[in-house]
Symmetry: C2
Subunit: 343 residues, 2 copies
Amino acid sequence: MQIPGRVTVRDLAQAAGVSLATVDRVLNGRPGVRPATIAKVEAAIARLGFRRDLTASMLARARDIGLAVIIPEGSNQFMNRLAEAAQAVGQQVRGERLRLDLLRIRALDPGALAGALDGLSPDIHDCAAIIAIDMAEVHAAVERAIGRGIRIITLVSDLPHSARHGFVGIDNVAAGRTAASLMGRFCRMGKVGLVAGSLDLRDHAERIAGFRAVADAEYPRLEIVGPVEGQDAFTATYEKTLALLRTHPGLMGVYNVGAGNAGMLTALAEMGMNHTVAVIAHELTGPTRAGLASGAVDAVIDQGPEAEIRAVCAMARRLVLGADAAPPERPLEIRIFLRDNLP
Amino acid sequence: MQIPGRVTVRDLAQAAGVSLATVDRVLNGRPGVRPATIAKVEAAIARLGFRRDLTASMLARARDIGLAVIIPEGSNQFMNRLAEAAQAVGQQVRGERLRLDLLRIRALDPGALAGALDGLSPDIHDCAAIIAIDMAEVHAAVERAIGRGIRIITLVSDLPHSARHGFVGIDNVAAGRTAASLMGRFCRMGKVGLVAGSLDLRDHAERIAGFRAVADAEYPRLEIVGPVEGQDAFTATYEKTLALLRTHPGLMGVYNVGAGNAGMLTALAEMGMNHTVAVIAHELTGPTRAGLASGAVDAVIDQGPEAEIRAVCAMARRLVLGADAAPPERPLEIRIFLRDNLP
DNA sequence: CGGGAGATGATTTACGTACCTCAAAGATCG
DNA sequence: CGATCTTTGAGGTACGTAAATCATCTCCCG
């Protein structure tokens, strides 16, 4: 428990041959330091292996880090779960100088998202996490927010060709591949139906692409039918799934890449197929959890909302506090749940 | 980013009608406070919703939290991976006032473990994490360490009837059940062989019990043979697996609950069965990862060494700093990996 | 009623960084 | 060469808690 050879800003100043004030200016990117002096300080940082003490750093900040998490509201179970996770994690990180404000907006409405972003002030929020919709209106709002000095993190759904500071989410192609590997072993041959929310959603399209790639290459005896699109809504998903099941009577498996699991499961139950068809779904929510327990769902691929929110918090902290606080950000894990390993 | 209505120890003192010193005594469990006064302070804590500011708390501590992680050394891939994770996490948490010292001892040697525990001084280590061996010698050493004021956390393998302060690890019965669910779907019928390190190891025995329970109840067309015990060593596992395969020529699946995956896979390859037999193994290590990639392994159940070490760190912090720093400790997740969702 | 122990108060320092002010030194330019 | 601007130094306060010291107060006991 001895104090280790902790390198402080004082040591840094001495080693670099400059004053504390100058070290502080360099460390916090304040203006008024000659490039040559900056280099001296940075050399000393490297030489001494100086690492900013986050504990003290947080304490000294008069203000908390403000993080706005913008999540669509509505009946989408996953989004609700994500919002709950945000609430819960927000509680846990308060006291760590991070304030998480949850904002809920109209779903599937780029105008609402853009409006929410425009309403953010850098005085209140240092950082915002958004579930991106890939449209010009949103792009523009993101640029404006960044211009105001707000860091933007995309969550779940990315905005690749923007200046967003980071993305938190899973590799959806890999998720689709994983689903195919499971499906290929659950039903060796026959027709497998695909259900999606919308092919316009990047994550849904990517999952289907991944599924197709593996199924075609490794399980040629599977015949893929669909996808049908249910807009992540109960009724539409229910009806589309029902139509799919009626069109293809001998269906062996169903893979729903979207959020309308309750609709899909209701359709299956109505056809009396809910225990004979192999079902793979996304996101551990009420319906999928119940489905796993009852045997109506065989496997659930989950992206772990809580882990996602935590990753967002960590990223926000490191974006605001500076890169030296960076734990190397790794992609989020794709989690597979069966009945027996439910958390 | 405004400063929220943060409740400080000063507010507490005022609200409770006592001095700062008394609040400090109560908060840090120091002696010399009448029960009635303690109650007053605690009432004020509850009333104001006071939460100790961890940031400031850590900063004010002159000393870091010292955590010793004791891991057996040898050829056991999982233990090596756990040790690597400890190193890595140790790097990441330095700067958060937590010093993680990794100690490696002779494997499967209760004397070595007891000796390591006895060698710990509370001046150096506030807390120790051990992979328990359920023997009297270890029990006694744990009691002695606790007597000296060192908090003990069991890791991976628990010591249920001891005064250890906490356990970090997965539910091994559930892991076995999960393996059975997968195996039952991978091979509908036929013989499935079990391979273990030793049935004397609590986690191995629990996995087998879980596997048996689900297989018997839900997949009666599977016939379980084994288990054979390979002592988690290459040669013994190789030989035992080979014998198992020769004794039961039509084997459809193999579930290895232990660490000797390289030996098992070598035996399978030698018999030319490495792509026809469904293989489920534990822990994502070199051999199992390669096996997933090549198709020799179908699924890996992993307990996530890094998550385990992180959980140990979190538990150590909360044990040392006091329960008010407690994030509700949840059981570790049982992770399932296929080829396509490898991290 | 005085002694002593226990309980409590008052006050101070320290932790390492952020951030502010003011002064001084140096550079630049007309 | 003086005026102006930029760069740097010096020093301080603040953040909220830990931990220590020393003084004071209360109360029980002999």
